[in-house]
C-alpha cells in the first residue's frame, strides 16, 4: 500500500533559528496564526525533531548553532525536507564572509527549497512549503542512506572575506593567529 500521498496531508513542522534576527521567525509564526492558518493543511508546529517532516530554518548558520543544526537534522526520521527561509539562510545574506558564519545553511545540511527575502513574506513561506511537499511526496527509501556533502566552503568565491582585509596583528613578526 502506497502511503506517499498522505505525507503532504499532514506535514509537521520543526522550526529552528540558526542565529538569525527573528524577523523570519515572526513571519513563520504569522503563518501559523489566524490570518494565514496553515493548520488547515494539517501542519502543526511540533517542536519535536523526532516527529517532524518539514524543517524550517532561519538565520545564517553561526558558529555556535551549526552543531545543533546538524544534530537536530540527524534526529529527524526520513522522509524529511528542509526549507531555508530568508536571505541569510539561503546565501549568508549580509553576514556572508563574517568571522562567525559562512555562506548559508547548505554548507552543512542538504536543502530542498530556498525561500528568499529579508524577512521572507508568509505567502512566500507557504509557497515554499508547498514546493517542499511535492518533493516530500516523491522521496524514496534512498534518502535513508547516509551521504557525504560535497559543497566547497565559501572562501573560493569573489566575496570579500573580512579575515583577509583585517589589519594584521603586530605580535613581533610572527604570523597572525588568523593567517
Amino acid at each position: 500500500m502506497k502511503l506517499n500521498k498522505y505525507r503532504k496531508k499532514s506535514p509537521w513542522i520543526l522550526h529552528y533559528n540558526a542565529g538569525g534576527c527573528n524577523g523570519c521567525d515572526i513571519e513563520i509564526l504569522a503563518c501559523l496564526g489566524p490570518k494565514y492558518d496553515i493548520e488547515r493543511f494539517g501542519m502543526i508546529n511540533s517542536g519535536n525533531p523526532k516527529q517532524a517532516d518539514v524543517m524550517l530554518i532561519t538565520g545564517p548558520v553561526t558558529k555556535r548553532s551549526r552543531e545543533r543544526l546538524v544534530d537536530i537534522y540527524s534526529q529527524m526520521p526520513e522522509p524529511k525536507v528542509v526549507v531555508a527561509c530568508g536571505s541569510c539562510t539561503c546565501t549568508g545574506g549580509v553576514f556572508r564572509g563574517m568571522y562567525n558564519c559562512e555562506g548559508g545553511v547548505d554548507q552543512y545540511i542538504p536543502v530542498d527549497v530556498y525561500v528568499p527575502g529579508c524577512g521572507c513574506r508568509p505567502e512566500q513561506i507557504i509557497a515554499g512549503v508547498v514546493e517542499a511537499l511535492k518533493k516530500l511526496e516523491n522521496k524514496t527509501k534512498e534518502i535513508e542512506k547516509s551521504v557525504r556533502l560535497e559543497v566547497a566552503p565559501v572562501e573560493s568565491d569573489n566575496q570579500i572575506n573580512r579575515r583577509e582585509i583585517a589589519a594584521p596583528i603586530n605580535n613581533g613578526g610572527k604570523p597572525s593567529v588568523f593567517g
Binding site: 506517499n4 498522505y6 499532514s10 493548520e39 488547515r40 493543511f41 511540533s46 516527529q51
Partner: protein, 281 residues
C-alpha cells in the same frame, strides 16, 4: 449498552471514534480562534503518514512500553464498555499511565523525565477523585459494576450531582487540556513522555490519546443512567466545556494544579460521598 454485538462493535471501533472526536475537537478549537482548521479526518492522515516514516527507537523496552500503554488503555475502555468493575477500570487506566511514565523515565532525555514527573503528579491529582466517585457509585447501587449505573432508572446525574461536578473539574487534568496541561506542555517540555517516540511507535501513543477521549466521555455518559439521550447531551455539553476551557485559560503550574484538585475537586467528591451514604439525595 446491553446488546453484546453493540458492545463488541464499540470496543473494536473505539480508536476510530476517538480519532473522530479528536478531529472534531481540532476543528472546534480552530473555529473558536477564528481559523478554518484542519479537515475532520486529519488525525487519520497523521496516522497514515506516521506508518510510513522511518522507525527510530531509543531502545526496545521504550518502544514496547509505548505499545503496552495503548493496549492496556484499550483494555480499560473495553471493561468500561462491557460494564465491568469500576475499581478495575480505574486501575487498568492507572496501569496504562504507569507504563507510559516508566517509558518516560527509561530514556536519557531530560524533557522526557520532566514529562514523566509531571504525568505522575497529574495521576496524584485526579486518581483520588475517581476512586471516591467509584465508592459513591457503590453506595448508590450496592455494587462496583458500571453496568448497574448504566441500568439505573433515575439518571445517576440526579443521584450524585456533586460527583459529576468533581469529574468535570478533573477532566482537563486527565485529557491534558489547558489550564491543567503541565504534563504535555508543548512550549515547556515539548510533549513530555511522548517526546522520544517516532514513526510507528509514536502512533501507539498518539492513538492512545484518542482512546483517552473515549474513556473520559464514557465516564461522562455513565451519568446519564439508562437514559441514553441524557447521556449523549451530557457528553456534548462536556465536549463544549472542555474546548471552551482549553481555549480561554492559560497554563497553571503543577503545584497550583495539585492544590486545586486536592482542595476543591476532592472535597466536592467527598461531600457527594457523604450525601450518598446518608441517602440525602
Amino acid at each position: 449498552m446491553n446488546n453484546i454485538v453493540v458492545q463488541i462493535l464499540l470496543i473494536a471501533l473505539a480508536p476510530i471514534l476517538g480519532g473522530l472526536i479528536y478531529g472534531l475537537e481540532r476543528k472546534v478549537k480552530a473555529r473558536m480562534q477564528r481559523r478554518i482548521g484542519p479537515p475532520l479526518l486529519q488525525p487519520f492522515y497523521d496516522f497514515l503518514k506516521f506508518a510510513d516514516k522511518r522507525k527510530m527507537i531509543v531502545h526496545s523496552t521504550h518502544a514496547f512500553l509505548g505499545l503496552l500503554h495503548f493496549v492496556s488503555l484499550w483494555f480499560a475502555v473495553a471493561v468500561l464498555i462491557m460494564g465491568g468493575d469500576f475499581i478495575l477500570i480505574i486501575f487498568l487506566h492507572l496501569l496504562s499511565t504507569a507504563v507510559i511514565i516508566l517509558a518516560g523515565f527509561s530514556t536519557r532525555s531530560i524533557f522526557s523525565h520532566l514529562g514523566a514527573n509531571r504525568s505522575a503528579i497529574s495521576v496524584l491529582a485526579y486518581e483520588p477523585v475517581l476512586i471516591i466517585i467509584a465508592i459513591s457509585a457503590y453506595m448508590l447501587t450496592g455494587s462496583f459494576d458500571v453496568s448497574a449505573l448504566y441500568a439505573s432508572e433515575i439518571p445517576v446525574l440526579f443521584k450524585m450531582p456533586l460527583a459529576f461536578i468533581a469529574l468535570l473539574l478533573i477532566l482537563p487534568v486527565k485529557l491534558k487540556k489547558s489550564p491543567f496541561d503541565v504534563s504535555e506542555a508543548h512550549q515547556e517540555v515539548v510533549g513530555g513522555v511522548e517526546l522520544e517516540y517516532s514513526g510507528i511507535f509514536y502512533e501507539a501513543v498518539y492513538t492512545a490519546k484518542w482512546l483517552d477521549y473515549i474513556f473520559v466521555y464514557l465516564l461522562v455518559f455513565m451519568f446519564g443512567g439508562a437514559n441514553i439521550w441524557l447521556g449523549l447531551v451530557l457528553v456534548a455539553l462536556t465536549f463544549i466545556y472542555i474546548n471552551a476551557l482549553d481555549n480561554s485559560t492559560a497554563r497553571v503550574n503543577y503545584k497550583q494544579m495539585l492544590r486545586f484538585c486536592l482542595w476543591v475537586a476532592l472535597p466536592i467528591a467527598f461531600v457527594n460521598l457523604l450525601l450518598t451514604m446518608f441517602g440525602v439525595l
